[in-house]
C-alpha cells in the first residue's frame, strides 16, 4: 500500500512537471567547442540548477513564461550570464553556450567562477581531476594520471615502482577502471612510472573512493572513470613532449565532410630506453608505445556519435643464455551514440570491447620456445545509460549493461613437466545488470538519492570439466542523503552494497602478469558494504574543505595463493584452490583542503585509516593453525600529502624572463607499511633459516618524499614552449620499499642477522620540454 502511494506521488509529480517548459543545451569551451562537463548552470530567477553531465548537457524546468537569466560558472572560467525568454508554458528552448577561460590579469589574478559542487546528484567520495590537475602533480619523467591519483587522500601507494591503486583498504583488483565507459583491466606500463593513460589525451578523471552510485557495479572498492578528450572543434592544434626517455605527440582538430562535421583527437607516445641504452648499458631491453584516438561526429544537436580507441604494448627482453621475451598490453574500442529523445530524456548507448593480453616466452639459443605463458581477458559490453529529468526535483538515471568476458591462461613447456601441472584454463562469463536511481530534492535543503542495481552473473564455457559453473543473482541497494547547510556547505551520508564477480591472481605487488578470471562455482562473489558520512564546505572563495568518515566491510575477498604455482592440477583444480578466501574491514577519515588562491592551486590531504583482513590459511598461528587477522601491506595509519602549484607570475604580477614561472610541489608523508620480521632462527639442513613473525609484526620506516618542479611557460604567436626541470625525492631520503633479511657474516665475520632494504626512488632530476601549437 505504501509503495502504491509513493508510486502515485511520483506519477503526479512527473505528470505535473511534464507540462512545464524547459531550457536545455550543451556547454562548450570557447576556442575549442569541446563539451564541458560539470559546469554549474542555474536560473537566477528561480534558483533551479544543475551541473552539466559528461557530455556537457543540461536541462532545467521553467514553470512559467517570462524572461530569465541563465548563469554558468566553473572555476578558472569567466562566469556567463545568458538571458532567454520562454513564451509558452510548453516551450523547449535549446541553447548552445560557451565558456571562456578566465583572462589572467597579472598581480590581480582572481580565479573566477565557483568551485562549489552544485550537482543535483549526491556524489560522495568523488574527487574530480582535469588534465591540468594531473599535469600539476610533480611526477617522475612526465605527468601521469595514476601518479596524480596516488597523491590523493584515501589512496595508498605501495611502492614507487607500482602504480597499483589501493583505495580505502581495497586492493587494485577491486577498482573499476573505465576509459570512455570501457573496462581497462591492467592499466600499467612496466615499473609503475607510467600508467596506461596519456595525460594529454585525457579530459577528465573521476575517482569515486566509495559508496558509488547505482550506475557503477562489479567492483568492491572504487571507480576510476577516465574520459578521453574529444578534440578541438574549432581549429587544429597539437602538443609535443620530449623527455629523456619518452616522447609524445597529440593532434586534434575539427573535420568536415559534405555537410557533416565533428572533431578528432589522436595522441601517441613511445619510450626510447633502447636509445639511452647505447650510452648506459645497465638498462633492460625495454620499450612501450601507446595511443589514444577519438573521432566525433555531430550528426545533429540531438544525435552525436563518437568512436574512441586505445592501444598500448610493452615489450621487455632479458638475455641470460636463453632469452625471456615478455609483452603485454591493452586495447579498447568504444562506439557511443548520444541521443536526446526529448530535452528531458538524455541517453547514451555504448558498444565496447576491451582486451588485455600478457605473454611470456623463453627462447633457447636455437630459437625454440622452451616455455610459454599466454594470458588474456577479453570484454565485450553493451550499455545503455539514460537520464530522465521529469522536473527540477527529480533526476532518474537508469540503464542496463550486458558484459561478456573470455579469459585464458595457457602454459607450455618443452621440459617434461607433468602436463596437468601447467595451467591450461579458459573461462567465459556473462554478466547482465540493470540499475535505476532517483535524485530527489525533497526541498531546498534536503535531497535523497535511492538507487538499486541488480546483476546476474553466469559462468559460460569452461574448458575443464571438473570446474563447477556459477550462477549468482544479486540486488545492490544504494542510498544517499544530503542536507545543505548553506549555499556552499553540506553534510551527507551514503550507503551501498557491492558485489564483484571477477578475481585477480596477483601477488603482493601488481604486475602486468596478474591474471583475471571470472568466478567459478567454487567461489562466492566478493561482497562489500560501504558507509559514509561527509561534510563539504567552500568556506572562502578560494578554499574548499571536505571531510569524509568511511567504514567498509569486505566478505569473500580473495588473495592469490602463490603455492598454486607448484600444486595446480588441470584435472582436479578449481578457482577455490588458487586463493586464500577471507574477510576484512577498513575505516578512516579523508580530509581534503583545496586551494585556488593567487596562483596557488592544489590541495592538502590527510588520511587517518585502519585496514584489517583475515584470510584463510594465511598468517596462521603456528600452534592452532588458525588464520590471524592482520594489517595488510597497504594499511596506512596516516598519510599526509601536499600537492601545490604556485604560479609566481600570477602572484607577483611580473613575468620572469618573459614567461610565467611555476613552482610545483608534491610532498608525501605516510606511515610505514606493515611487514613481518624475523622472530626465530633454525637450521634447514644446509643453512640457517629464518622463522618469521605475523605479517604485520612490524612497520617499515615512515615514507617521506618531496618532489619539486619548475616550469617556464612562454607564450608565442603560434603557441607555447614549456621547458621544465624537476627533482624527485629532493632530500634523497632512503625510503624503504621492502626489507629483506638473511643470515650471513657480519663485518666482524660472525654469523648474524643481516638486513637489506630495497629502495624506492633516489634523488632523480629530469628535464624536458613541452611544445603546444
Amino acid at each position: 500500500m505504501k509503495y502504491s502511494i509513493l508510486i502515485l506521488l511520483f506519477m503526479i509529480s512527473f505528470g505535473l512537471s511534464l507540462q512545464a517548459a524547459t531550457v536545455s543545451g550543451f556547454v562548450t569551451r570557447a576556442g575549442s567547442k569541446e563539451p564541458m562537463q560539470y559546469v554549474n548552470v542555474h536560473v537566477a530567477e528561480t534558483s533551479a540548477g544543475m551541473q552539466t553531465n559528461k557530455k556537457g548537457y543540461f536541462v532545467i524546468d521553467i514553470a512559467r513564461p517570462g524572461t530569465y537569466t541563465l548563469e554558468l560558472s566553473l572555476v578558472s572560467y569567466q562566469p556567463l550570464k545568458h538571458k532567454f525568454t520562454i513564451n509558452v508554458p510548453t516551450e523547449d528552448l535549446h541553447l548552445s553556450l560557451s565558456l571562456v577561460e578566465a583572462a589572467i590579469e597579472l598581480a590581480t589574478i582572481r580565479v573566477t567562477g565557483s568551485n562549489y559542487d552544485e550537482a543535483r546528484e549526491i556524489r560522495p567520495s568523488l574527487i574530480r581531476s582535469t588534465t591540468e590537475d594531473v599535469k600539476s602533480v610533480v611526477s617522475p619523467i612526465e605527468a601521469d594520471v595514476f601518479r596524480a591519483i596516488l597523491a590523493l587522500p584515501g589512496v595508498a601507494p605501495i611502492s614507487d615502482f607500482s602504480s597499483g591503486l589501493y583505495v580505502r583498504g581495497g586492493s587494485p583488483d577491486q577498482n573499476l577502471i573505465l576509459l570512455d565507459d570501457t573496462d581497462v583491466y591492467n592499466p600499467n606500463h612496466f615499473g609503475g612510472v607510467f600508467s596506461t593513460f596519456n595525460s594529454d589525451a585525457v579530459e577528465n578523471i573521476d575517482l569515486i573512493k566509495g559508496a558509488y552510485p547505482a550506475k557503477y557495479g562489479g567492483r568492491l572498492s572504487s571507480v576510476l572513470d577516465v574520459t578521453n578528450r574529444q578534440g578541438n572543434r574549432d581549429h587544429h592544434q597539437g602538443t609535443a613532449r620530449w623527455s629523456l626517455i619518452s616522447s609524445s605527440a597529440t593532434l586534434e582538430g575539427p573535420w568536415s565532410l559534405a555537410n557533416q562535421n565533428g572533431s578528432y583527437m589522436a595522441s601517441l607516445r613511445r619510450t626510447y630506453l633502447e636509445l639511452v641504452k647505447v650510452i648506459l648499458e645497465d638498462l633492460p631491453d625495454y620499450y612501450f608505445y601507446d595511443g589514444h584516438f577519438k573521432l566525433n561526429w555531430d550528426i545533429s544537436p540531438q544525435d552525436m556519435v563518437s568512436t574512441s580507441a586505445y592501444f598500448g604494448k610493452d615489450r621487455l627482453n632479458f638475455d641470460f643464455g636463453s632469452v625471456i621475451k615478455l609483452d603485454w598490453g591493452n586495447r579498447t574500442f568504444t562506439t557511443q551514440w548520444m541521443h536526446l529523445f526529448s530535452p528531458r530524456l538524455f541517453s547514451q548507448f555504448v558498444l565496447a570491447g576491451s582486451d588485455f593480453t600478457s605473454n611470456l616466452a623463453q627462447i633457447t639459443s636455437e630459437g625454440e620456445e622452451s616455455f610459454t605463458r599466454d594470458n588474456g581477458i577479453q570484454d565485450f559490453s553493451s550499455k545503455a545509460l539514460l537520464s530522465y529529468r521529469p522536473n527540477n526535483q527529480h533526476q532518474i538515471d537508469f540503464g542496463w549493461e550486458v558484459k561478456y568476458n573470455d579469459t585464458w591462461l595457457q602454459t607450455k613447456s618443452s621440459m617434461q613437466y607433468d602436463e596437468s601441472s601447467l595451467p591450461d584454463v579458459q573461462v567465459a562469463s556473462l554478466t547482465s545488470s540493470a540499475y535505476i536511481q532517483d535524485t530527489w530534492d525533497l526541498d531546498a535543503l534536503w535531497s535523497v538519492q535511492p538507487g538499486l542495481r541488480g546483476s546476474w552473473y553466469q559462468s559460460l564455457d569452461i574448458n575443464l570439466k571438473q570446474i563447477p559453473k556459477a550462477s549468482y543473482l544479486n540486488l545492490d541497494p544504494r542510498f544517499s542523503i544530503r542536507r545543505k547547510l548553506d549555499l556552499a556547505e553540506s553534510v551527507y551520508a551514503s550507503y551501498g552494497l557491492y558485489h564483484q564477480y571477477l578475481t585477480l591472481m596477483a601477488a603482493d605487488f601488481s604486475t602486468p602478469f596478474d591474471v583475471w578470471f571470472p568466478l567459478d562455482g567454487s567461489l562466492k562473489p566478493g561482497r562489500s558494504h560501504h558507509f559514509l558520512l561527509g561534510y563539504k564546505n567552500q568556506f572562502a572563495r578560494d578554499f574548499a574543505f571536505d571531510i569524509e568518515l568511511y567504514y567498509k566491510t569486505y566478505q569473500n575477498i580473495l588473495e592469490y595463493d602463490s603455492a598454486t604455482d607448484f600444486d595446480w592440477d588441470n584435472e582436479s583444480g578449481q578457482l577455490a584452490d588458487v586463493f586464500h578466501q577471507g574477510k576484512g574491514y577498513s575505516y578512516g577519515t579523508d580530509i581534503l583542503l583545496r586551494t585556488y588562491w593567487r596562483g596557488l592551486e592544489g590541495f592538502l590531504g590527510l588520511t587517518l585509516s585502519k585496514t584489517r583482513r583475515t584470510m584463510k590459511d594465511s598468517n596462521i598461528d603456528p600452534y592452532t593453525h588458525q588464520a590471524q587477522s592482520y594489517y595488510p601491506k597497504y594499511d596506512r595509519s596516516y598519510a599526509v600529502s601536499v600537492v601545490q602549484t604556485f604560479n609566481l607570475s600570477h602572484f607577483s604580477g611580473h613575468k620572469i624572463l618573459g614567461a610565467d614561472f611555476k613552482l610545483g610541489v608534491n610532498f608525501a608523508f605516510n606511515s610505514g607499511q606493515p611487514t613481518d620480521r624475523p622472530e626465530r632462527i633454525y637450521f634447514d639442513g644446509e643453512d640457517y633459516g629464518i622463522i618469521y613473525s605475523y605479517r604485520d609484526r612490524d612497520r617499515l620506516p615512515a615514507y617521506l618524499r618531496l618532489d619539486l618542479s619548475t616550469k617556464y611557460e612562454w607564450q608565442t604567436s603560434w603557441g607555447s614552449i614549456e621547458p621544465y626541470f624537476e627533482v624527485i625525492n629532493v632530500f634523497n631520503r632512503k625510503n624503504v620499499g621492502f626489507r629483506n633479511y638473511s643470515i650471513g657474516p657480519n663485518q666482524d665475520g660472525e654469523l648474524a642477522l643481516l638486513t637489506e632494504d630495497s629502495g624506492q626512488f633516489p634523488i632523480l632530476p629530469f628535464i624536458g620540454v613541452n611544445v603546444k601549437w
Binding site: 643464455g321 568556506f539 607448484f566 600444486d567 633454525y682 634447514d684 622463522i691 612490524d698 643481516l754
Partner: protein, 316 residues
C-alpha cells in the same frame, strides 16, 4: 569551527603516529625445528644427517647454541616395524651437531619412515612421517658420448669440462626412474663451487657486465637461492625415452642456470610431498610434515654430479 576541526585532526594524527598498529609476537618460548632428509640407498650418516635445532630469541642468536644435543630421536621403518635411535655427533669442522644412525640402516626406496623426537623439558612429542620415492639413478652421460675429460663426473675428481653453449643439449640432466613412469615431485639444483671473486666471469653478460662487482659478494654467499645457487622444481613426468627402455625425467634446457664459468655441483632428485611443500610453500617450515615443531622430515631419491663449465669449446 574550522579551527576546532583542525585541532581535533591534528590530535588524531598525533595519536595515529604514536600507535604502532602491529601484531604481537607469534612464537612463545623455545621453538624446535627438524631438518631431516632421508635419501634412498643411503644411511642417516654425517653426509645425510638429521638436524634438531632450537631457537629462543633472534636477538640472542648464537649459531653454536642453536643445535640440540640432548634428545631422544627414534626412527621407525613402518613397512618392517624396525626402529633405531639416532645419536648426536659434533662436527667440529662445520660446528654443527648432526644426528646420525650408528648402525647405518639403509633407507629403502618406497618405504615409509616415522621420526619421533622427545626433548627433555619440552612436553610435546615431535613427530613426522615420510614415504621415500622410488629408486632413481642420475645418468651423467645420457647420450653415451663417453669422451674423456668431457662432461659430468660423479665426484670432484672425475668431473670433466663442458662448453657453456652446448652444456645442456649435449649433457641433459637425466634422472632414470627405472621402470617407474608417471608424475614425480622433481627438484634440481646447480651450485657454483667457486668462491666469490671479481675475477669470476658471467656466462652471459648482465646489463653489459662481464664480471661481478665486489658489492655482489654478500649476495653471492647468501644462503638460499641466488646467483650462486639456481634451483628449479615442479611436478615432472617420467616417461620411456626412445634411447632407453627405462623411464627418464630429462631436462635439456638448463644452461642459463650456470650464471658463471667454473666448477658446479649439479643435483637432481625426486622428492616426497613433505620436502616439496617445504620448498614451495611460503613459510615452508610450517608445511614440512612435522608435528609439534617446525621444519621438514622428507625423503628423496636421486644423485649429485660435478662439472666445470668453460668458455671455449673443448676439442671433441
Amino acid at each position: 569551527m574550522v579551527k576546532n576541526i583542525i585541532i581535533i585532526l591534528l590530535a588524531l594524527l598525533l595519536l595515529s603516529g604514536c600507535t604502532d598498529f602491529t601484531a604481537g609476537p607469534r612464537f612463545e618460548g623455545d621453538v624446535y625445528a627438524i631438518a631431516g632428509l632421508l635419501v634412498a640407498g643411503e644411511a642417516i650418516t654425517a653426509d645425510y644427517p638429521v638436524y634438531l635445532s632450537k631457537s629462543a630469541d633472534i636477538a640472542s642468536f648464537d649459531p653454536l647454541d642453536i643445535f640440540v644435543m640432548e634428545a631422544d630421536i627414534q626412527i621407525f621403518e613402518l613397512d618392517t616395524g624396525k626402529s633405531w635411535s639416532l645419536s648426536p655427533m659434533l662436527d667440529f669442522e662445520e660446528l654443527k651437531v648432526k644426528w646420525i644412525d650408528p648402525a647405518r640402516n639403509i633407507i629403502q626406496p618406497e618405504h615409509s619412515y616415522r621420526i619421533q623426537v622427545q626433548v627433555p623439558g619440552y612436553e610435546k612429542l615431535i613427530s613426522a612421517e615420510t614415504t621415500v620415492p622410488p629408486e632413481t639413478i642420475l645418468n651423467p652421460d645420457y647420450y653415451g658420448h663417453n669422451v674423456e675429460g668431457e662432461g659430468y663426473g660423479l665426484s670432484l675428481q672425475t668431473m670433466g669440462e663442458l662448453p657453456f653453449d652446448e652444456a645442456d643439449l649435449r649433457y641433459p640432466l637425466a634422472l632414470n626412474t627405472l621402470d617407474k613412469a608417471g608424475t614425480f615431485n622433481y627438484q634440481a639444483e646447480l651450485y657454483c663451487l667457486e668462491p666469490f671473486s671479481t675475477e669470476l666471469e658471467f656466462t652471459t653478460p648482465i646489463f653489459g657486465l662481464t664480471h661481478p662487482s665486489a658489492e655482489l659478494e654478500d649476495a653471492y654467499n647468501r644462503s638460499g637461492e641466488g646467483m650462486r645457487r639456481i634451483q628449479f622444481m615442479g611436478r615432472f613426468s617420467s616417461s620411456v625415452q626412445p634411447e632407453y627402455e627405462d623411464s627418464y625425467i630429462l631436462v635439456k634446457d638448463y644452461r642459463q642456470g650456470f650464471i658463471f664459468y667454473g666448477r658446479y655441483m649439479a643435483s637432481a632428485y625426486i622428492i616426497d610431498n613433505n620436502l616439496y611443500r617445504y620448498n614451495y610453500m611460503p613459510e615452508g617450515y610450517l608445511y614440512g610434515g612435522v608435528h609439534n615443531a617446525l621444519g621438514y622430515f622428507g625423503s628423496a631419491s636421486g644423485g649429485v654430479m660435478y662439472v666445470k663449465v668453460v668458455k671455449a669449446p673443448v676439442d671433441i
